[in-house]
């Protein structure tokens, strides 16, 4: 297929020429997704850690719930957020629909269960190692959670990365709540969807390569960070 090979050259040209439209789309993609991931981490890290450490009724059920929510279809999340933020919905007065903030909310909802579920796993593994020592030292619950989160920081960065990967690549939620409005809510994935619907397959694929390139850059930096952490036996 000629589209495929021409996409590589097109992608390289796109990045090389650094057109302001493309930069705008890339910047917005990163802003939306990074904000969503940061919010999801602020919510998900403590909840995941509590699920790993605390013993309470319904803990297994909650764990199961968050593991299930990991597979939530983005369109469903988009639809839920649309119904909340629509002028006909309960939060319509906030006037957030078709803004980047709406996209951040949708992606944060999408990513939070992933962060919670993976954090629980990471912290549980570490807690198995620390539990007896903490018991012996009589470490209060809150201190234990904070200490585990801090000591698992490199593992949690990978967790955040998994959330980032999910959010940056999804189109279903942001297109519904963002509306793919040019210069306002158009991000990489909605631009790809748009170009595909225009039949500009080579351009769509090229944008896909650009997205891949960004994701690769971020993955590579995290990989290097983890490698240096491993040298310090922190992982």
């Amino acid at each position: 297929m000629q589209d495929f090979s021409s996409s590589f050259t097109l992608a390289a040209n796109l990045i090389w020429s650094a057109k302001p439209e493309l930069l705008e789309i890339i910047t917005l993609s990163l802003q939306v997704t990074l904000s969503a991931v940061v919010i999801a981490c602020l919510i998900g890290f403590p909840i995941g850690a509590l699920l790993a450490v605390a013993q309470f009724r319904g803990r297994t059920a909650l764990t199961l719930l968050f593991n299930t929510l990991m597979g939530l279809p983005p369109v469903v999340v988009g639809l839920l957020v649309y119904m909340m933020l629509s002028n006909a919905g309960p939060l319509g007065f906030l006037q957030l629909l078709y803004t980047p903030v709406a996209m951040i909310i949708a992606q944060a909802l999408l990513v939070t269960p992933i962060i919670i579920a993976l954090t629980r796993q990471v912290i549980e593994d570490l807690y198995q190692e620390y539990a007896e020592q903490f018991h012996s030292l009589v470490v209060p619950r809150r201190t234990a959670v904070m200490a585990l989160l801090w000591d698992a920081r490199y593992g949690l960065i990978t967790t955040a990365l998994a959330g980032f990967g999910r959010a940056i690549a999804e189109v279903g939620a942001v297109i519904v709540v963002g509306g793919n409005i040019a210069h306002v809510t158009r991000v990489m994935t909605t631009a790809i969807a748009l170009e595909t619907s225009k039949g500009e397959l080579a351009l769509a694929l090229a944008l896909g390569f650009v997205l891949l390139f960004i994701a690769m850059t971020i993955n590579a930096s995290v990989f290097l960070l983890r490698a240096s952490a491993a040298r310090m036996s922190y992982v």
């Binding site: 620390y130 007896e132 020592q133 012996s136 030292l137 200490a147 310090m232 036996s233």
Partner: protein, 258 residues
């Protein structure tokens, strides 16, 4: 066997050591203590009394139930039957805070050497945290490595750090589970010096080992256990010169099989 003098700096006067007042957690008494794992009795009707200061060494072959007994004494495990009383009180968080346990494989946090000690000190809100940190680093001989990752240390250094961290929170009782089981003679010596320091500072030391020579070097009294039962409890020189039990005798002769 004469006691070595500690090679570390002495405490500031009146700060921790309390040899004159007697240990506030003693005596330790267990009655009819039992513990099972998967239906197998690991600790079997143990009636133990530790009344004197100094170093009590729990000695016995592998699988005798030594580590489980330590965890029961420290309250990390709940007995199937019987009770553990420290000066008449059941072990709980308040009592555990006045004890410290050093595990066979030291549990070090994924932090620097100094931060491992800081974490423990911060739990007890001491007014002289900085001084305690410096002293613990000095005790462990790790002052120059204070900001290295703890888990990158050698085995001996890790165990020294774990003991110094335990001592930094100034426990009345220091409990150690095979603290030098995987260490070479030099590292073992350094550990034993640290333990001796704790003894000199008036801390009750309860130590588990299967190493006869170590027991001989440091013990004030020997508690010999086998198959989850206490076989004999004797002052150290007596045990090594003339054990009262047949099991003890054959262990000394190297003939006791698990």
């Amino acid at each position: 066997m004469s006691k070595r003098q500690p090679t570390v700096v002495p405490l500031r006067k009146g700060q921790t050591g309390r040899p004159d007042r007697g240990n506030p957690l003693l005596p330790l008494k267990t009655t009819d203590l039992c513990f099972d794992i998967n239906g197998k009795r690991i600790i079997d009707q143990v009636d133990l009394a530790i009344t004197s200061d100094g170093i009590s060494v729990i000695l016995g072959p592998n699988g005798a139930g030594k580590s489980v007994l330590l965890r029961l004494l420290h309250g990390l495990l709940k007995p199937a039957r019987g009770e553990v009383l420290w000066r008449g009180r059941h072990i709980d968080d308040t009592l555990r805070k006045r004890q410290a346990l050093v595990f066979q494989r030291p549990v070090l946090m994924r932090r620097s050497v100094a931060d491992n000690i800081r974490f423990a000190i911060a739990l007890r809100s001491f007014p002289d945290a900085k001084h305690r940190l410096d002293r613990a680093l000095e005790l462990a001989g790790l002052t120059s490595q204070a900001y290295q990752p703890a888990r990158a240390l050698s085995g001996g250094e890790q165990q020294r750090l774990a003991i110094a961290r335990a001592l930094a929170i100034d426990p009345d009782v220091l409990i150690l589970d095979e603290p030098s089981s995987n260490l070479d003679p030099g590292a073992t010596l350094a550990i034993e010096q640290l333990i001796e320091t704790a003894r000199v500072e008036g801390k009750k030391v309860i130590l588990v080992t299967h190493d006869l020579n170590q027991a001989k070097r440091i013990a004030d009294e020997i508690i010999f256990i086998h198959h989850g039962r206490i076989i004999e409890q004797t002052p150290s020189p007596l045990f090594f010169n003339n054990p009262t039990s047949n099991h003890g005798r054959s262990y000394l002769d190297g003939g006791l099989l698990v």
